[in-house]
């Protein structure tokens, strides 16, 4: 078996660790995302980045300079 086939076979196997994590995945978010186009998903990512930066800025401002 070549390396790629080995990787493919490994990917096909169910991993109990991943299955455990999967129970906590919010599928409603996924379903909403899948209704959007890939471009809309990237645009939302940029909006989310802007929001995260705004939160960081506000947090820094609250703590004050040098803290």
């Amino acid at each position: 078996m070549d390396a790629e086939s080995a990787v493919n076979q490994e990917a096909d196997e169910t991993d109990p660790v991943i299955e455990a994590y999967k129970k906590h995945v919010d599928r409603s978010l996924i379903r909403e995302n899948l209704k959007r186009t890939p471009q809309e998903r990237l645009e939302r990512l940029m909006e989310l980045q802007r929001f995260a930066e705004e939160l960081r800025r506000a947090g820094k401002e609250k703590k004050g300079p040098g803290r």
Binding site: A11, D15, I30, N33, L34, P38, Q39, R41, L42, R50
Partner: protein, 161 residues
């Protein structure tokens, strides 16, 4: 903030052969996780290395997290003598990768890439199945949640069809 559109435009306008991988690829496939940079695997041919250099030369590429004032010079030789670069640019953070664990080189990834229409450009993105393999191969605990979400996306897509 990373200007994904701007970075993709710079690479596409420069005719760079590249494939989007990592968090941005996951987003394009339907992930809702926040990612801060654009990861791309670029083809390591001499011509493409020249294109990578030209595409980014006006965007102030600099090693991310490195102290300022290093004698870093963005040039074709820099790209040719390195492989993977984690960069800041005036368009945001860009990981420029010659190869990735579990995915290999551009040539290995291109077979499983999908072409998406993004911001008026045709952009190659690593396929969902391959992205899951790459994340699994990394073996990093921080990727467990990512893999779980990607597999859930695959299941939801299968349910839809």
């Amino acid at each position: 903030m990373t200007d994904f559109k701007g970075l993709l435009k710079a690479l596409t306008d420069g005719n760079v052969e590249f494939i989007v991988v990592g968090g941005a690829a996951a987003t394009a496939h339907g992930s809702s996780r926040l990612t801060l940079d654009l990861d791309v695997v670029y083809r390591r041919s001499r011509e493409n290395i020249a294109r990578v250099f030209s595409a980014l030369k006006d965007h102030d590429p600099y090693p991310r997290g490195a102290p300022t004032g290093l004698p870093f010079r963005w040039g074709e030789k820099t790209v040719a003598s390195g492989l993977n670069f984690t960069l800041t640019t005036d368009l945001g953070d860009l990981d420029l990768l010659g190869e990735i664990p579990g995915g290999g080189t551009y040539e290995a990834l291109v077979r499983d890439a999908v072409v998406l229409d993004l911001f008026g450009m045709k952009v190659q993105i690593v396929g969902l199945e391959r992205l899951i393999q790459v994340k699994r191969a990394s073996g990093r605990p921080k990727d467990f949640e990512v893999i779980a979400e990607l597999e859930a996306i695959r299941e939801e897509q299968e349910t839809e069809t």
